[in-house]
């Protein structure tokens, strides 16, 4: 591991000032915040991340979960995944989030990993993690060996000719279906970013994964008030029953009245280059009878633009069945 300056800021403002000196907040950042460390330290040991400064935000007051004035929930950046998953309001009103968190990683890692860290979790693409290999995300312009290589677990939605890396998060998929908002304190003040606008498609700049700029500190995430009468479910399909990343997953928040779908929020994991909200599936569901045929139609709509890689065409049908079954289970 390359050496670095370890910085313990007195407050969030000091953290932002130090981080604002960075050249970029994206891949190759010379300044990084550390919270749980489960992604960052892993990548620093691999020399994929080599920050000159690491800012420890664990002692900042960002570890609270609180009700918001409008009846929603405010989740601090350093709230641990395990604490969030078992928080009574989350278990009761945002069950899809609790389920997604508990479907991710291991009990030890969930005790360490944080809300903000999970938002910024990096891809598991083996070429990104191996500095002996080319990778447009790690070193722009070097190429993408995954496109002709080991791509069984990589993305089928949102890919480009430059990058097909999958976003690995479970938490973000649930947050996409819950329409979370990311709150950032930056060099020019605070701003709020809808989760759908937070992550970027790879396009020709796969090294840029989020809209974060130097100095930007994710301080908290807010969830809107729970939708009365909605059913929620996170369904994750993977090679092993536990402790494995998704091949395909679905987060659904759905309301059915008189046998018809009146509201639907759908997001897919394990298949996209970013947490994949499917407005197409939602449009296909709303107003229709809540039955198997319409669930399948929604799944067809969600995967209509899917582009298989050489080893992962199976993911298209897997993702369709995952969403169809998730909708069936949620409305049963």
């Amino acid at each position: 591991m390359h050496t670095f300056e370890f910085v313990r800021p007195a407050d969030s403002a000091a953290a932002v000032v130090t981080a604002a000196q960075a050249k970029t907040a994206q891949q190759g950042a010379d300044v990084r915040f550390v919270a749980g460390g489960t992604t960052l330290l892993d990548l620093m040991k691999l020399n994929v991340e080599t920050p000159a400064r690491v800012i420890d935000i664990n002692r900042l007051p960002l570890d609270k979960i609180e009700a918001t004035a409008d009846g929603g929930l405010k989740i601090g950046a350093t709230v641990r995944n395990s604490d969030l998953a078992h928080y009574p309001t989350v278990e009761r009103d945002y069950a899809v989030l609790s389920q997604a968190l508990l479907a991710g990683a291991s009990a030890q890692l969930r005790n360490m990993a944080t809300t903000a860290g999970n938002l910024l979790q990096r891809t598991r693409c083996v070429y990104f993690r191996d500095t002996a290999m080319p990778c447009n995300k790690r070193e722009p312009g070097t190429g993408c060996p995954a496109i002709t290589g080991a791509n069984r677990v990589l993305a089928i939605l949102g890919t480009s000719e430059h990058c097909i890396a999958t976003n690995p998060s479970d938490m973000c998929i649930a947050m996409a279906a819950l329409e979370a908002t990311i709150h950032v304190q930056g060099a020019n003040g605070a701003r709020a970013i809808p989760i759908g606008d937070f992550h970027l498609l790879p396009g020709s700049t796969p090294n840029r994964e989020t809209v974060l700029e130097p100095g930007d500190l994710v301080t908290h995430v807010t969830l809107p008030p729970p939708v009365a009468g909605s059913r929620q479910l996170y369904l994750k399909l993977r090679d092993r029953t536990s402790y494995e990343f998704a091949l395909a997953s679905s987060a659904v928040v759905i309301t059915v009245a008189g046998g018809r779908v009146t509201r639907a929020r759908v997001a897919l994991g394990g298949v996209g280059t970013k947490p994949w909200r499917s407005l197409e599936a939602e449009a296909a569901l709303v107003g229709q009878p809540a039955n198997q045929a319409n669930f399948r139609n929604a799944a067809e709509a969600a995967l209509r633009d899917a582009k298989p890689q050489s080893e992962n065409a199976f993911k298209i049908e897997l993702a369709k069945r995952c969403l169809t079954y998730a909708l069936q289970l949620a409305t049963a």
Binding site: V7, D11, G37, T38, L41, K45, N58, S106, M112
Partner: protein, 161 residues
């Protein structure tokens, strides 16, 4: 805005298995390397060094973590418990005794991590059946495949407490 501490090396205070320690470390030192190389507590094992195998599991302020994926300097003021702090050969922790009784190991390399995870699990939300235990123990890999007996040992302790 107040001043900010910056350092390449720093002195931290930890309580390890009940004993206060003040130790100066290179900031890159993982909690695992601090325990093994500086404090010579070699019961905690290094397997993958990437948080994937669970052999390095210890308790930080009573919660289980993989000590390889966290920096020692992040835990200034923390209470750390390792396998050496759990029991002694003459006075085993009930989980250690259950692993012996149930033959919950073969080569033993993963065992301290398994036991530290299992002891933490006793205080976590966990359903009564074996499937719930397996789910919450999935972060501890056993290359010998002693899983069935590990689950039996944990269930024996849960039944008796």
């Amino acid at each position: 805005m107040q001043a900010t501490d910056i350092s390449l090396e720093t002195t931290i205070n930890l309580t390890v298995n009940g004993a206060p320690q003040a130790i100066t470390v290179d900031v890159r030192t993982s909690l695992l390397d601090l325990l093994r190389e500086r404090l010579h507590l070699s019961g905690t094992k290094k397997g993958c060094d990437h948080g994937q195998c669970g052999a390095c599991t210890v308790h930080v302020n009573g919660r289980r973590v993989t000590s390889c994926l966290t920096l020692a300097v992040m835990h200034d003021g923390a209470e750390i418990t390792t396998i050496e702090g759990l029991g002694t050969p003459d006075n085993l922790h009930p989980m250690q005794a259950a692993f012996v009784a149930c033959d919950g190991y073969q080569c033993g390399y993963c065992t301290s991590g398994q036991i530290m995870s299992a002891v933490a699990l006793l205080k976590e939300p966990c359903g009564p059946d074996d499937a719930a235990v397996k789910e919450l123990m999935s972060g501890n890999i056993c290359r010998c495949g002693a899983y069935a007996n590990i689950v039996a040992a944990i269930q024996q302790v849960r039944k008796n407490t």
